[in-house]
Amino acid sequence: MSLKDLPKDEYLLPGSAACPGCPATIGLRTVLKALGKKTILVVPACCTAVIESWYPNSSFNVPLLNIAFEASGATASGIVSALKQKGRDDINVVVWAGDGGTYDIGIQAMSGAFERGTDFIYICYNNQIYSNTGIQRSGATPYGAWTTTTVGGKGEFPKDMGAIVRAHHIPYAASACISYPEDLYNKVRKAKEIKGPKYIEVLTPCPPGWRFPMDRTVEMGRLAVETGVWPLYEYENEEMTFNGISRAIFEGKYKRKPVEDWLKLQGRFSHLFKPKRDEERIKRFEKFVDDMWERFRKEFG
């Protein structure tokens, strides 16, 4: 499939409140094209809640329920239930939540919705910070990253949300990135057709949050995949398939670009290189990525 096959319909209208170069809106445009008109979005507190613009106008052309930060999964369960009762279960119910509302404050509600088998798609757009409130650390923030609450660089590694979601044994869990729109589109299309809970995590590189120029958003996502920092995969009926370059990495057919190449381009990692190289922390970051692929090989090889 090619970009030509993607529909022309736009459900996110131009002139929103998003930052120039915002990855969330890039992701949303692709995701909404895959979902189509018959979609209800559930959006907790996150950047998108602001991107919608303000009352009485909205930049969204699908019905959208804003909800409290921790409540997405439960709210989706309620909507799905109501639609079923009203005989309108041909409507996609989709949570679009940031990493804060997924990894941290929202994890309980998401877990509950998965355990109950709610027929919906949970999309986590992950920019690895609490972006909306001004770039504070989240459970998804990478090791060594500057945030306003990890000023010297985060000392902990991020949660393995992929493993947590897979442990719920839901029919479909995928990892995507806005820099690969055909892949993201296909994943959403596939999820749409499956009954039960589906999870898609989309890497969304954030210019103000990661400290890189606003024209390099797509590049940053691509490099994350090429260095192996971010895997693209689908876990369907408990069978793992890696996609594109990630498959080549998994099969040992592609030599990952140095993780450093990705770190160096982002101001949030600049203290690892200036005033002098922090070899120890760079090595720890690289080991984290190596270990992740090692775990993948052990579990899915």
Partner: protein, 87 residues
């Protein structure tokens, strides 16, 4: 578009909900249409949806809303979009 009477925070879809966000620009993308290969990368990667896809898959930039991020210039397959400073 049906508007509801009940008074609660209900908002309705609007293009340019934040106004003409083209005013945010410092640089504007200039496309050399003749050299465009209609790969549609600029169209799909525009965060704003400000690159309009025409019937024949050629593209046109909507300067009313383009915020000038420069992603289109960066991702253009054949590098025929340049960023020029706004007057």
């Amino acid at each position: 578009m049906k508007k509801y009477d009940v008074v609660t925070t209900l908002s309705y879809p609007k293009t340019g909900a934040m106004g003409k966000t083209g005013t945010w620009r410092i640089f504007r993308p200039i496309l050399n249409k003749d050299k465009c290969v209609k790969c549609l990368r600029c169209w799909i990667f525009c965060p704003e949806g400000a690159i309009i896809r025409k019937e024949d898959d050629s593209v046109e930039i909507d300067y009313n809303y383009c915020k000038g991020c420069g992603i289109c210039a960066r991702e253009c397959k054949v590098k025929v979009i340049t960023m020029e400073r706004e007057e």
